[in-house]
Symmetry: C2
Subunit: 329 residues, 2 copies
């Protein structure tokens, strides 16, 4: 059965932007017949409500969103750690480890679905998960509303922006507005895509060339350099048998659909700012970027990448680090 496209923020973005961004080939020095680049720059300006973004930022860092007031969204999605906690698996209010590695919150609005297994279509739906999960924030929306209601600053901020004041839907809306502001434009690579041939070194360019020619862009493409499809982890070789200790969390999308063909299937993660978000994969098994690239070569491409290949591809991946609030992330 074919998936039906929905107007997620990511789809909206691509509709809005794919037409307005000139492919590098129109301005660059390559022959005009060159194929369009499979990766597109992140739009530099987003039309968002600055006041809602500011309120959402405060809520994102608000420990009152957890049952015992000790965990905020930022605990696991720290803006200063590439939007992650840099742990193999996150830890919630119970002190229990989560089941999978926390994905970055940066550019999450470009993802076609949320979570590793894509079980939430939108950022708004995603929020319900961690806020209410016992092992994460363990809260209820009513409990959160009651706590925020006691803070006149929140009461005034909501009243100004939402006619019905502090309501779960409005809390989520403000957080989503903030999350939509977490795009990271102006990476070295995006400057290159926009026509600045000097933005990348020759090694970085060669890394990008290999990234394309080896087939990484089959999955890692678009504005997000990933985040827009599902794929089997272990497409060319059996990753999980090699790793061992398979748990339910490794079943991925199967846990959502119950379809055998979805076992070991995950959302392809965005590679934007990937240099800042170790460790890698849903299981956090790759401590460094070069480990992750080697694993991808073996299990997704069916080829053992040479150290020089890995080194150049890592150099290219490092150019995907963008800016947040006009400063390098």
């Amino acid at each position: 059965m074919k998936r039906i496209p929905v107007l997620t923020p990511a789809v909206l973005m691509s509709l809005l932007w794919l037409n307005s961004v000139s492919p590098v080939t129109a301005q660059g020095s390559q022959p005009a017949a060159a194929r369009p680049e499979p990766i597109k720059p992140i739009p530099s300006e987003l039309k968002l409500d600055a006041e809602k973004v500011a309120l959402g930022k405060q809520l994102f860092h608000e420990p009152k969103l957890s049952r015992d007031n000790t965990v905020s969204c930022a605990t696991c999605h720290d803006l200063h750690k590439g939007g992650t906690d840099r742990l193999i698996r996150s830890v919630g209010i119970g002190g229990a480890e989560g089941l999978v590695n926390a994905p970055t919150v940066f550019n999450s609005g470009f993802n076609f679905n949320q979570f590793w297994d894509g079980r939430a279509h939108t950022l708004t739906d995603q929020i319900d998960g961690p806020v209410q999960a016992d092992a994460e924030m363990g809260a209820t929306w009513e409990g959160i509303r009651a706590k925020l209601d006691r803070d006149p600053e929140y009461v005034a901020a909501f009243k100004k922006l939402y006619p019905d004041g502090i309501q779960p839907a409005n809390i989520k809306d403000a957080i989503v507005q903030f999350e939509m502001s977490l795009s990271t434009p102006n990476s070295k690579f995006d400057k290159y895509l926009r026509g600045d041939q000097t933005a990348l070194s020759s090694d970085e360019k060669e890394g990008y060339r290999k990234f394309k020619s080896y087939g990484c862009t089959s999955c890692h493409q678009g504005v997000g350099v990933g985040g827009n499809m599902f794929e089997t982890f272990g497409a060319m070789a059996d990753y999980f048998s090699a790793r061992g200790n398979v748990t339910k969390a490794d079943f991925g999308r199967f846990n959502v659909t119950g379809r055998e063909e979805d076992r070991f299937v995950f959302k392809v993660p965005s590679l934007r700012n990937v240099a800042l978000t170790p460790p890698y994969f849903h299981d956090g098994s790759a401590p460094r970027l070069k480990d992750a690239v080697a694993v991808m070569g073996t299990y997704q491409l069916g080829r053992k990448l040479l150290p020089e290949d890995i080194d150049q591809i890592v150099k290219f991946l490092n150019t995907l680090t963008g800016e947040y609030e006009k400063r390098p992330l």
Copy 2:
């Protein structure tokens, strides 16, 4: 020059408790002539002002204590991660990595000094460091006061507990009251120390025996199983030459005193709840407890510990995990 003892919370605690706790030998099955145990149980009840503790807990988790409202004390001292962030080095508001591994906030009141290099005598003095450091929370006390002044809940809570309301000294006092509540009594090992011979397995007891006989208790003793002296990292062999990449942060106490004899000298860390706080050492270089024990054997004891020794000592160290708020940490 000899150090002059001061009445830190740790010293006060030991004065209060050393006399009231019976050594295990008075009740246990060992001969009466056995030496007193070098490790003492954590007192189960602390006399603290519950309202100040609650206010301090809120402040500890309050991102308004950082310049850009994105980092709280709990960011690097997460109660659900053993009072640490489980990273090699912490990350502050600038996204910059700190210079050393963040020590746990649990039982920090027992430490004779704060920070790896002991540059703060008291918890109260310690707070000024991370709150004001550019690479950590980057705030000013005046800025924090202004933000808290806009929140009537904070205004009322301070007014009730402190005659002069929201003042930097009172903010620090409440946080220290909370930190003093972060002791973790009733570990398996403390139950054993109090006379319950069944609290430890034979391997755990053997691990403790080796921990003492190999000399670990020369430094790791007292209520904190450490935290009450300085020692050279590399007392028996040159740790830093072996590790390489020596930086100023490795100079330890030398950075405080400027005395050559203090180069590579650090506060001996408490081993309470050590199983929960990887990675280990000021440089975060040991990812697992067994790695840390092996390094200690080589560089502090001058002996290569056998795998069985390490295994048993690790089992003993696991018994040092206590309770917080009556629940296992």
